[in-house]
Symmetry: C2
């Protein structure tokens, strides 16, 4: 049986590209309308694994997915970074000079403002989804419109890329996690030597409490690669901290750090230990 | 001369509501299509101040605005938190039973999924902007459509609220900063006693470097209210850290902390010291 991988979005979404990078193409990818449904499908064993975006270099962390990670008990087993490349896509036979309107998700349209400034006759039309806008073009057989989406979306819906990489900022990367459900998912990246561990903890209301918690890592020379705080709603002065650091959960120094962190925090959950992604 | 306040979005956007909370209604609010233009207008003295969103409880930090803060030299002089309340809005005379389609920004549509589940006959139609969708309804005199937007937008465009607060999650707050340009902006909140300071620093590549930097605050019992890391592009293992803490820049212990932090970081910029917002 092929591995069933859930993700949010339409077929051709960047999450699907991440799934391909993490697990190869020999899987069955299953799109869901919302992140909540991606997690629910994994919990009810309709899927074997899930690929979720966790942060973007321009937009920051996807808090909603951190919340889902906290509310479920899945483990992060791999990560990867995908460069978000926006392409101008149209049905076969439609030339650039024919294009009057371009459909895409508003976030994607707003990331290609230089293109629209250079082509003022082309109208931006907001649509629900980047890949979905390509599907709509093909389905409606539009001859004067294009879409902005990934090259994967162009492939899936057999559309043509008219202009590659029309995004304003090339430093647009999204980091994805691969989550394990009730079956072990072999990741392509398991041969890597450098491991990362992600965890979340809360501290009580006292100055220096974060500092004491971080000493658990600093005293063992464990390098942080991400830290982020989030206020606990309804509990002023208490915070959730999301921390990533270099090290594998099984390592002795990591075990010792976790021991101290468990002592000094109110609540600690290790979200996963996984090979560092590209 | 009335204070000119720049913000991103259409008239009626949540940023305008934040501007009202921070400065009262006796100002001239000037909408801009992008955050970059909001900052440019402040730099070229077309506006006296700007109101920008910096983080949302569901979506996380607005990294783009942190970037603009770094690239310009404005000071944060106040903050406020706005609860994001989505209302179903229609032109006067249009009743709920007449509504077949609802226009709004896709993010707003996605935050009202329970409403659409309960009303399956109503179609979601993505639009560029929440407030802009109300303006369009009124301009086009649509009699079978509604929009999802703020109550401020309903007021400005003289539309009616048919259903209040149809958002799925009430814990949806956005934090806004008021930025000072070349003229002192009197903030409504200056009488507050509790001050916050926001700063950004970078550290070099060494385990424990963040820990040493945070000791500057912890050794003076200064309470962190936010910490967030962001990788420096092209410089692996070097990070920008955004930190907010309770304290005023002029306080002696804060001055001492900044002195140590300047020594232990590679780069430090105080973004502002301001009364804690609601």
């Amino acid at each position: 049986v092929k591995l069933k991988i859930g993700f949010q979005g339409e077929l051709g979404a960047f999450s699907q590209e991440a799934a391909g990078q993490l697990l190869g193409r020999d899987t069955q990818v299953i799109p869901f309308p919302s992140f909540a449904e991606v997690f629910d499908a994994l919990a009810s064993r309709k899927t074997h694994a899930a690929v979720i975006p966790i942060e973007n270099t321009l937009h920051g962390s996807v808090y909603e997915n951190y919340d889902h990670l906290l509310n479920h008990d899945f483990r992060i087993v791999a990560e990867t970074n995908i460069r978000i490349i926006h392409n101008l896509i149209a049905p076969p036979g439609v030339a650039f000079k024919d294009i009057r309107r371009v459909y895409s998700h508003p976030v994607a349209l707003n990331q290609c403002l230089d293109f629209f400034k250079a082509n003022p006759a082309i109208e931006k039309v907001p649509f629900y989804d980047t890949a979905g806008s390509v599907r709509m073009l093909m389905h409606e057989k539009l001859t004067d419109a294009g879409a902005i989406a990934s090259s994967v979306a162009a492939n899936i819906y057999q559309a043509r890329i008219l202009k590659k990489s029309i995004e304003d900022d090339r430093r647009n990367f999204t980091r994805f996690f691969l989550l394990n459900g009730y079956r072990d998912v072999p990741s392509r990246k398991q041969e890597r030597n450098v491991w990362k561990t992600s965890l979340v903890f809360t501290t009580r209301n006292a100055p220096g409490s974060l500092f004491r918690c971080l000493s658990a890592l600093a005293l063992r020379d464990l390098s942080l690669t991400k830290i982020e705080s989030r206020p606990l709603r309804g509990r002023p002065w208490e915070y959730l901290f999301y921390v990533d650091f270099i090290g594998r959960e099984q390592d002795e120094n990591v075990q010792n750090a976790l021991h101290q962190l468990r002592e000094m925090s109110d609540f600690l959950r290790v979200l996963g230990s996984y090979p560092r992604g590209d």
